[in-house]
């Protein structure tokens, strides 16, 4: 064997045909070593077969399972924290208007329901559909006022003044995407609702009101050319 180089021995181990006596001797020695090996005992074979048949549960818990759990749980935990922060902020933004908007929108979309909404004694939140159902007045940020065109912008200013004169609070402006329609929403003390409605109608606004716990939510829609 020592007459065979390591490189040639490697070739012989990989199955090359021996050419010299020394190579034949090396191959014979390797065959002897190979023959020495016995198959695994039946008991071991049965144990391994049973293990394979039972599946991974039989092999116990994988190592590092807690690490994988932590990795998988981290995004979920982060999402929960983000929601916990975001929900109060979003809820605060919606207060004072959006819960009432759908009721008003339903009024204007369905005249049959308008009177019923006024007469309803149940709290508006229970009767109102979710805010996203308001397809007539998709919420716009305050900067939507800059997109108002022509007389709408002027009438909006005057309507806002009329509302403030009537002691309205929480006045906010919603606009349509093209700037041709603007909607003012505000809470007016019950006693001043009539004056506020009159002032708004003078500006050509279509006004709907909803009574909510001692205040009247006024919704005035101004349309270009109206």
């Amino acid at each position: 064997v020592s007459d065979v180089t390591p490189e040639r021995l490697a070739e012989l181990a990989d199955g090359a045909t021996p050419e010299t006596e020394a190579e034949r001797d090396a191959v014979a020695l390797m065959a002897e070593v190979r023959d020495l090996a016995e198959p695994a005992p039946d008991a071991v074979r049965e144990r391994v077969r049973a293990l394979a048949a039972e599946g991974p549960a039989a092999a116990g818990r994988p190592r590092g399972g807690w690490r994988r759990l932590a990795l998988a749980g981290a995004p979920v935990a982060a999402a929960i924290v983000a929601l916990a922060i975001a929900i109060p902020v979003l809820t605060r933004d919606d207060d004072g208007g959006s819960r009432d908007v759908p009721a008003a929108a339903a009024d204007s979309a369905n005249p049959m329901a308008a009177g019923a909404a006024e007469a309803q004694t149940a709290p508006p939140a229970a009767a109102a559909p979710p805010p996203q159902a308001d397809a007539l007045h998709a919420p716009e940020p305050q900067s939507g006022a800059t997109r108002m065109r022509g007389d709408v912008a002027g009438r909006v200013d005057r309507a806002r003044a009329a509302l403030e004169e009537a002691g309205a609070t929480g006045v906010r402006l919603e606009g349509s995407a093209d700037g041709a329609t603007a909607t003012l929403v505000a809470e007016v003390p019950a006693g001043a609702a009539e004056a506020a409605t009159r002032g708004l109608e003078e500006q050509g606004a279509r006004v709907t009101t909803t009574r909510v716990e001692g205040v009247v939510v006024v919704r005035a829609t101004l349309t270009g050319g109206g």
Binding site: A13, D25, A26, A40, R49, A52, A59, R61, P62
Partner: protein, 167 residues
């Protein structure tokens, strides 16, 4: 993008490679009964880690032998600690190392000669000669270069031939 490689069933892989793993462990630990236990432990660990096996990275036989090696080395480490503990209490009493035992009818001198090789040499003989892995695969398992595997095999077979008479 890497081409998808089909994934065999664990039961099939275990059945096809059981003897190879057992033979490797017999050579590694030099004790057939211990090799039996370590073979079972190897397949338990392999089943647990089966999801991590990537067919694109190598044959299942190589993956299994790598696991068998870790199982054997873990055993040696634990055994080394156990022996150290025992030696502290029974200093001076040498512990007999069981010779590798083989099947009847095969040359005892070859078996004995194998037992006298270093563990690294026995491992290379097992990987290259008994299991038929190529030099790169054997090197990957044993943590050596393919060239070092060739040198170790040459040295090991030289020692065996020096001790065992030609038939």
């Amino acid at each position: 993008m890497r081409a998808a490689t089909s994934r065999p069933a664990f039961a099939d892989v275990a059945e096809a490679n059981l003897d190879a793993v057992h033979r490797y462990l017999v050579h590694m630990v030099g004790d057939r009964h211990l090799a039996d236990d370590l073979t079972s432990a190897t397949f338990e660990r392999a089943l647990r880690d089966w999801r991590r096996y990537d067919p694109a990275r190598g044959r299942p036989s190589v993956w299994l032998v790598e696991i068998a090696r870790r199982v054997a080395l873990d055993h040696f480490r634990k055994d080394g600690r156990r022996r150290a503990r025992e030696e502290r209490y029974a200093a001076g009493i040498p512990e007999a190392t069981p010779p590798p035992d083989g099947p009847g009818g095969l040359p005892d001198d070859l078996r004995d000669a194998l037992g006298r090789l270093t563990r690294a040499e026995r491992e290379v003989v097992a990987l290259r000669v008994v299991l038929g892995l190529d030099a790169a695969e054997a090197g990957r398992v044993a943590g050596m270069t393919a060239s070092a595997v060739g040198t170790a095999l040459h040295r090991a077979l030289g020692k065996l031939r020096a001790e065992v008479a030609r038939p």
